[in-house]
């Protein structure tokens, strides 16, 4: 199960945070700080997995954004790497050639897409089309109102 998912920029600015288990505000701050420090310090082309405390950290850089997920010990790192990738694909499909700015200015949409994709730290919907459809549905609903 994914414990948390963070998106931050190369400058260490947090762009999105999702916590799938209960953390206190203090813990959250600490995790964010540690993640940003750890991940930004990594050399290019090094391993995408880090052991941090009792968690496995899987991160991947897409353009100027780092996607970073904290996993439990029993989780599969490679699979989670693909979770991150699928999320990027979903964002890309929704925004059309997504860039960091899309996520900054429409971060709530990014959250909604995530909610359609993951639930309770597990993958809910693997089909790109299905996520897109449910997003569209919600958007049109708003247009109507």
């Amino acid at each position: 199960m994914i414990r948390f998912l963070l998106l931050f920029s190369r400058q260490g600015k947090l762009r999105l945070q999702k916590w799938f288990t209960a953390y206190t505000d203090r813990e959250k701050k600490k995790v964010i700080r540690d993640m940003v420090m750890l991940v930004l310090a990594r050399q290019p082309r090094s391993c995408n997995f880090i052991q941090w405390r009792d968690l496995k950290i899987v991160y991947k850089r897409y353009a100027s954004l780092y996607f970073c997920a904290g996993l439990e010990a029993s989780d599969n790192e490679l699979l989670s790497l693909e979770v991150l990738h699928r999320y990027v694909e979903l964002l890309d499909r929704y925004f059309g050639n997504v860039c960091e700015l899309d996520i900054i200015f429409n971060f709530e949409k990014a959250y909604f897409i995530l909610d359609e994709f993951l639930m309770g730290g597990e993958v809910l919907e693997t089909s790109k089309a299905a996520v897109a459809a449910s997003m569209e549905e919600a958007d049109t609903l708003q247009e109507v109102l």
């Binding site: 597990e122 809910l124 693997t126 609903l141």
Partner: protein, 1128 residues
Amino acid sequence: MSDVVEKTLTALPSLLSLDSQPGSAKLSSTSKLGNLIRGITELTSKHEEEKLIQRELTSIKEQVSSPNTSMRQMKELMVRATYCEMLGYEASFSYIHAIKLAQQGAALEKRVGYLAVSLFLNEDHELLLLLVNTVLKDLQSTNLIEVCMALTVVSQMFPKDMIPAILPLVEEKLNHPKEIIRRKAVLALYKFYQIAPNQVQHIHNKFRKALCDKDPGVMTASLHIYLQMIKENPEGYKDLTASVVTILKQVVGGKLPMDFNYHSVPAPWLQIQLLRILSLLGKNDHSTSEIMYEVLDESLRRAEMNHNITYAILYECVKCIYTIHPKSELLEKAAKCIGNFVLSQKINLKYLGLKALTYVVQQDPRLALQHQMTIIECLDHPDLIIKRETLELLFRITNAQNVTVIVEKMLEFLRISKDDYTTTDLVGKVAELAEKYAPDNEWFIETMNTVFSVGGDVMQPDIPNSFLKLLSEGFDSVEEDRKLRQFAVDSYVSLLQGGPGKLPQRFLQVISWVLGEYSHLSEELDPATVLSLLSKLLDSKNTSSETKSWVLVAMTKLCEGRAGVSVAREVSETYSSSLDTVLRHRAQELQHLSQDFELRARVLPRDASREPLEVDSSLSFLDGFVSEALAAGAAPYKPPHQRQEELAQEKALSLEPYGLSLPISMSSCSIGDRQSPTLLSVSSGLSGDSIELSHKGGSATLKLDGVKRVWGREGYLSQRESVEETAQVEVPSPLRSPGRQGEADKSHHQTPTPTPTPEPEQEKQQLASSLFVGLGSQSSVCLMGKSDLTNQRFRRKARCSGGSEITSNSVVSPPSMVDSLLCNNLLDSNVTSELDLASPEPPPQLCQDLSAANGTCDVDLTDRDVTANNPSVIRDNGVVAAEDPDKPTDLCLSSHLPAELSGLSRSDITPLCSHQSLHLSACHVQGDDSLALVVFILNSSDSDVQQMLLQLDSDQLEVSSVSESPVQEVRGDSVVVCQYSLTVKRPSVLVEVCGVMSFMCSVGTPQSVQFSYKLPLASFIRPLTVSTEEYGTMWLAFSHDTKQNLTLMREDRESLTATLNVLKNKLQLHVVEIIGMEGIVACRLLQDQPCLMHCRINAGTLAVWLRSPIPDLPDCLIYHCQRALQEH
């Protein structure tokens, strides 16, 4: 200027001009959020940003509280507020508005409201309660999107206590026609299962239905729950194996809709989930494993595409194959797979390959051997993560022969690692290896030196602890011990001479202890040198006061001769005025002991650290002091939790009916510190010193010896898989330097690379052979199953035998307690044992009686008294097969029981004492509101007994006679019954009634017999029927309390009820209410002395808190609870 600003600025014009972008609802350039973000990017300093955000927040605050703000505007405001929070600024004023938006907004507004709530609030935030109604409403909505939103927010965060309120609605959704709703409902239930498993256990059958759902998505979602449940109880779900295998077969065969494919791999998430379930089911189960071999083989075969996702499946497959019951054919394939991973050029795969190797190396050490060159390469990999993982692998294959090389590599890594968590972990591993496989003293001490200097103050406190213990307890050979200690002393002296400035405090503490204890072993070492080194340490600014007190203790042990005394005087003068009380105390000790050599020799005997020290943890020697103080008017001692609570009560009114948050860590008050004073055995010379040892330098760390460490300073420690006793060799290897060792071993090692190799290659090969020595397939190696203790250098001596502890126990603990505990055992067996075995012989007492009839009365009678109790002692210990001497008497006496008592429960009739033909027996009868003691006086002779007078007396009980006129005579061959009513004056675990009966036989001489009757306090316990409210008021009013953890009766979710039922039946308690994991219970001690009990399930034990107005009652009752549960 930062990159993002640049990028933003260059992008801005295009953003402003663009109206329609691909996708829908793109950013509106005029939106206020857009303005805010743009504003922020234009700023240059953090300070300006702060000002801007504060301004923004103020304006948001104004608008949200204005009544004219529409929901649409509110949505926009919430987005801005969440943005500010994400930047790290607090916007708590908006929380309530977010909830309102979720409540009142329509569609997307509601969605933003829910999002804001889930971003703002924590799971335990009190405002969440306000959300429950909204969620309820939305769950019942006909609008699918609203239902979806509600389910999403429920799985994200929902107050645990409110789950029952929405559970039926979520359950209902399992039957919803839309599969997306069903899917979300299953995942919401999964979340409930995680946070409150007992709330959903009654719907397990519905999970089955979800598992059989026609939509594969719903089925996939339900597997999350099943994985969790199978993890907890693999035995219960073995029947699922066949279905899981079938599902996997279909998935692998591509039978699922295309929708589930990911990069043309069929449903990888589902596959991996299924593989995980299979590995849980097949673990240690041959027949179940049989079922899955085929499909595993197929999975391996199918996953051939060169893509991350197939590797993910392969990895899981390999793990599964190595977890279940092995099958050689599959293992071979899996090993090949691991090989591919390890040899891969992709660094991620290499990493996973190493992980897999680490996982399997205990089963198959040859695999490590196969890849030794790759492992060596990884050891020098620029990526620290890879390096770290390689060390983990090496740790698993360490044996006595390669330990030096591996430890060297680990220490190398430690010197460059900056992560505290890694350091702590690795330092522990090095210490473990060093202790286990150290080839010689020098190496051991030097390695530990590095461990202490690198690990410094982040290492686990038990490392220096066990190191010192190892030194002081010694090994099998006295000479070796001496050498080791001497070497340690020499090495520390040179370290201190080299400048102690950089050494961590923990290390300095170890050094001072060793120097204090053993520096006399080194003959050429002048005590004065050591003293001056130590006093230099004292003067150093970097030395903490905790370390200083260690140094002072060491000096106290060392100050000898004139020079020593003068140093001691100087030092003690400096520190006797220290502000630190501990230091002052030590300085005083030093001063006094340095002047009085005799006393010092007695207090600090040389080399006595091995002898166990008896510690009276009850501090009974202070009793006199305490009673004096009490007499002088001091306030009685109250335990801290009680004090705190009283403080809290004074401060504010408690609105809760009871139970002001029970302390969570009740486990810390273990049985040991509540029950009868126990005896600690700590190895050291001086009592103060020993406390320090066990406390590891005063900082309140617990003695962790023998306790499984699950929590560390960093939180939950990931469970280190128990390291199998790794490879060992039949013949202990002679000491060799790594280099020579390498050469020697190379000869019988087949390295895969061809022989003519360039220089660096050769170096690597040498390293390889020294690393992997002892792992070869040569018969000498056995990785599994054998203990390698034979080979271990530092073998711990057996702890001091239990015998001495037992004897000392009785010496130190107050005799009364011991007595009463012992007696309790005696009596309990008397009272509770129902021995059906009726012995045909006459009771032993009677025989003895006849034979001893001519003896002098007094002596005889006291003897008798003892023998009357003795059989039960033996019985209780189970030494002698039980035989019941009382049975025949019991049968005939019970008919004499007063009529009003006949229907009530009573104890067995116990013989009290006999004199010639006169036999006294007694039993106690428990009425609803009373406890009656019935004494039977049986006169078996023909002649009458006259002028009989029976007097009962007790310290703990109030005894009153029930019959009006006392019986004065017993006719021949008859039974007289006397009945007494008992109530408790002063509770004690076991209460005793003493009695004297004087009488005159027909012969004419006056006689008297003494007896005593003991009964457990439990017989005086009656249920106390109160309501929860009454309970609440009473709880707060009572001042005496006790806490303890009891064992639960069962492991499952009904354990609380089951346990309380046992207590209820055995002890006649009244269960007031059971709420979830907590239960409240009430009882009274006859007549009307209440005692309340609060139980809570906490980490697998039952945390019990008892309160009563009567002192000692809680303690006694908890004892009986414990016994009742043990006996059950």
